[in-house]
Amino acid sequence: ARIQFLEAFEKIRDNFHRTFSMYFEGGEADLSLQENEDPLEAKIEIYARPPGKRNQALKQLSGGEKALTAIALLFAIYLVKPSPFCILDEVDAPLDDANIKRFSTVLSKFAEDTQFIVVTHNKDTMKSAGTLYGVTMEEVGVSKIVSVNLN
């Protein structure tokens, strides 16, 4: 179990370097296990530095930087054992317009091998979807789904 965990951890680390710079178009990120601890018990430390910024604690990242870092890490984990589908529920809410565009571009790259279901209020994120469904409550308290034409 220990070897298996360490192997997966190293893969996630490699992926995180890559996904972080895909999302932030630069910068650097890393993962490390607490020193002198048994890998199966050790804390996992996250290090993230957006492009142009100095080294700083994770706490000092802004709301949007944290959301993008978490999405990059979740994708790094996902790439180790890719699931055939992935659901994202309003993860784009804290992002500004430029980061939404980056998020959509990276999503489209991953969408070649994975099916995504993305719940969003953001019009730019909707544009990157192949299929669009609207949920309404015409009858109070009862949900209905309608297919929406993207144009």
Partner: protein
């Protein structure tokens, strides 16, 4: 493999039978606050075997059954079916289309079906073993997880890593 159809009846705010065809690539779900978008996400978690009421935002499991509205009485059961198109043979069955169904009655009775045959929850979990599916963490990502993942509490973080190992 991809999800090719979702059918919902009596689950949370879906009082009438709702069929959602799904395709590979990106599908976006939009709509006003409180209209039922996250209920669709909950329906998918539930049919894949989710047992934790905290992940379904309810006190007890029966709360997922349609509870009535201004003009409709509450229903007695909820049923969700998910069709998986097994084109890459990822699931260890000989069918190309695998339909998973979960039902819950108000009296607490519940059933799982695989291509219309009654099975146990264990059979569904075995089916998904090592495919990355199943009700666990990283196939559903929501904003609240962002704080958990980056928070000081390493327990939540380890869980996600161990899931992938």
């Amino acid at each position: 493999m991809y999800l090719s159809k979702l059918e919902i009846f009596g689950f949370k705010s879906f009082a009438t039978k709702t069929v959602v065809p799904l395709r590979p690539g990106i599908t976006s779900i939009v709509g006003p606050n409180g209209c039922g978008k996250t209920n669709i996400v909950d329906a998918i978690r539930w049919v894949l075997g989710e047992q934790r009421t905290s992940m379904l935002r309810t006190e007890k499991m029966q709360d997922i059954i349609f509870n009535g509205s201004k003009n409709r009485k509450r229903l007695n059961y909820a049923e969700v079916s998910l069709t998986l198109h097994n084109n890459k043979g990822i699931l260890p069955v000989e069918y190309t289309d695998v339909v998973i169904t979960r039902r819950l009655y108000r009296d607490g009775d519940s059933e799982y079906l695989l291509n219309k045959n009654v099975v146990r929850l264990k059979d569904i979990n075995d089916l998904f073993m090592d495919t990355g599916m199943g009700p666990d963490a990283y196939s559903v990502i929501e904003l609240k997880m962002v704080d958990d993942l980056l928070s000081e509490d390493p327990v939540e973080r380890r869980k996600l890593f161990e899931e992938a190992a």
